[in-house]
Symmetry: D2
Subunit: 259 residues, 4 copies
């Protein structure tokens, strides 16, 4: 075992009691309170990941560095349906995201996908994230700060259908109800033959989008879905869990047209 | 539409004829040959992504920048079972990979997962990739170069069971037949409570690994699988394809023990 | 539309209020009571399937004949994990059940599979259903009566491991925790090369059973699972439901050995 | 082990060489020929299920009674997409089929579902199976004879859209391209609130059918799909197979309207 790094103000910390996890953003003077007692943030600062802290009542919590998966699934605040890691992991690969890329995102919602894409294009790239709803934008802002990825995202309160200033994007992802309306913008603002992606909950929307993609000359059109099946991790009684997610959304990918 | 970047020597280029894709690494003096005719690499250099080139027989190909998904699925050479993007996208998130991280990988194979992890920790991080079989190592080396990610990977011809020099890893992924043997090394070489991941094809191996993970004090043990279901992208006859992959492997995740 | 049959005492009746379903076994003098009011069974007798009845408060219920699917899923009483229709439908086909066959079942539980098998071998066949637990046997008895299939099942309070009297079975299904113990009995009591089936929740049990099946000379051994995915039946927003069953059990099929 | 029944002319017999299966309909004077040699049907007649026969070259085959699953999957001749057992098993339960029922089927195709439904309503019920295409009807006729279920099916060369003579059906299943056109007939020819089922390959067809079902007043409308995942039956290396069916069709169920 090697020494872990020290925990500092601004770090997102997972406190784990052996069963449940709690996520806090370390801040001077704050306290973490559960029914098992109180822990002062100031008593966490300077500890190393993997160390234990105790509440004033003596209950123990392990300090762990949250993975991006945990952040998306458990730590961020949500007011919208989010893009789940089972999907966002594949999305970054299908969009061909690389450090340094300039990416358009429309329909930020709680910022769950924004986080994941920002992490991939960082530290030299940038996500231009458009969202019409100011409340969602504020939420995404907070979630990105918590994840330590705020500086790789330009948050814009705007409807991309009303026109955008930026161009020369390497890729785009659209999470909107009627994404077919964005196709002319994607054609004019992305580099030719750039990857674009969409997520849609219903088959009817997928059919509509496919029609529009063909009509607008998009290339290499694909539709797929990802099913995530968790297992009970019991070595002598290995089996899937009882219930699982049946559906998040259909993923559609294409390339913007050639000149 | 905006001007794309120019294509340079060393770039991996996808040539698409509207149906099939071909992948070439652009090199001075080389030629690309199919039954539709010949294209000289020198005639591609300097063109922009999204432009078209013609064979000496007049057949047209579109020049596209391959996504990481395409590189893994279609461009790399394989001599082993690879980790597929449906799995590797999730793996990077479960391992919490971020730019700058130092990651241990054992069982590199063709380097399909190495590529994806390198892309996430780049440009400031490093994957230390161990592989006992020299032929696989040579293959991974070539595939990483092709993907432009070679500088973010330290390839090591070694069996990690015989001991390794590096330590202080932020995360690890093990793709070996008997991964339970690596647990003591993971415990001693990773930072405390770091994420570790494994992929295993059979349920028996999963049971064995789970036993070992509990015995060795690993935390937050999870098992899951990802099913990828492609659809025929026909707007008026939307439906899944006829046949799909039934299984690649079970994914197991955990955290190294606390001190 | 044609006239339906009349409802008689002893019929299982589904009362549907347009949203929820209630199942009653029609009996002289009984009453059906919900928060919407009371309906006397005597007011249902003689009505036809598809007619409506009203509670004393004026709420309307439609009288429908329950399908076997509904009976298994909603009408029977359960004290055990049941075999679901997605599995039992396939089981009858894999076991090759036909009218007139003589079938061994061990581990009757609530009788959910017994119902389905009895329906297939009826009216000339017979299910010999063994169950050690008297409470389950009483439950299965009641459920079979409710479904109108009691006369096609011989319920036996016995552990088949302690020996059984019957033989010359055409097929068998075993739903027990350690089904490998039953293989010698299956070999001696079934016709040669008869189909046998098993359901098991964990992969470890499947491995154990497979070992035993090979050791005992069983033929054509198969393992499979059935995943049932419901959709929201909304024509303009067609999509799977949010959550679904992730697992009921693995199905194992084989043939008893040749002489 | 008990003595099996003797094999007679007209029986469908599975010959199994330990790896491959062959299906023959036993007939006086016929021969079964493979590259391993010849077996005369007359040498099989009178043998018992589970016995072995030899070709003139000495290769051995085991005589097994085919299950309905095998008949549908391997023995019948197909000129159409068939309804697979994973679906037909559930269909019989959702339609509530019982011995003695009178069932309407439209779109018989190769008769794969007809077989399964006939087996459930036998010996006192009847499937009225409509098919416009004479070639398919001839094929279904042959397949039903082979399966020994011909007497429980009335095959009718007709398009039900042009009107049918029979009525008073207990249930119906429609396997046609535009099944919404059949709804008025289902309403007029089935008993009120009877179960009806449909299978459709595309989501667009499902949406169309759902619209029509609601418009025509059908009740309790449901959509689902069944995924069948086979495993490699190797006890120490248990895992799913590599490739599986991704889709056969969506199943839609409803009840005909009340008066």
């Amino acid at each position: 075992m090697v020494l872990s790094d020290s925990i500092r103000d601004g770090d997102l910390v997972c406190l784990w009691d052996g069963e449940n996890s709690f996520y806090i953003l370390l801040q001077p003077g704050s306290t973490f309170t559960t029914h098992k007692g109180i822990i002062r943030h100031d008593d966490i600062r300077g500890r190393r990941w993997g160390e234990r802290v105790r509440t004033h009542k003596g209950s123990e919590y392990l300090l762990m560095k949250p993975s991006l998966y945990e952040i998306v699934m458990y730590a961020i605040q949500r007011k919208t349906q989010i893009v789940y890691p089972k999907d966002s992991g594949l999305i970054t690969l299908k969009l061909g995201l690389r450090p340094g890329m300039k990416v358009l995102e429309a329909g930020v919602g709680s910022g769950a996908l924004t986080l994941v894409m920002a992490n991939t294009v960082a530290p030299t790239g940038m996500i231009y994230a458009y969202e019409r709803d100011r409340r969602f934008l504020a939420l995404a802002d907070e979630n990105l700060r918590m994840a330590g990825l705020r500086q790789f995202v330009t948050l814009l309160e705007a409807d991309i259908l009303e026109g955008i200033e930026e161009d020369n994007f390497d890729a785009a992802f659209i999470d909107m109800r009627e994404p077919w309306e964005t196709l002319p913008i994607l054609k004019s603002r992305l580099k030719a033959t750039s990857p674009v992606g969409f997520i849609l909950p219903t088959t009817n929307q997928v059919s509509n989008l496919l029609h529009a993609l063909y009509d607008e000359g998009f290339l290499r059109i694909e539709v797929e879905e990802i099913i995530h099946r968790p297992y009970k991790p019991v070595p002598d009684r290995l089996r899937p869990v009882d219930r699982m997610s049946a559906h998040t959304g259909y993923l559609i990918f294409a390339r913007t047209p050639a000149p």
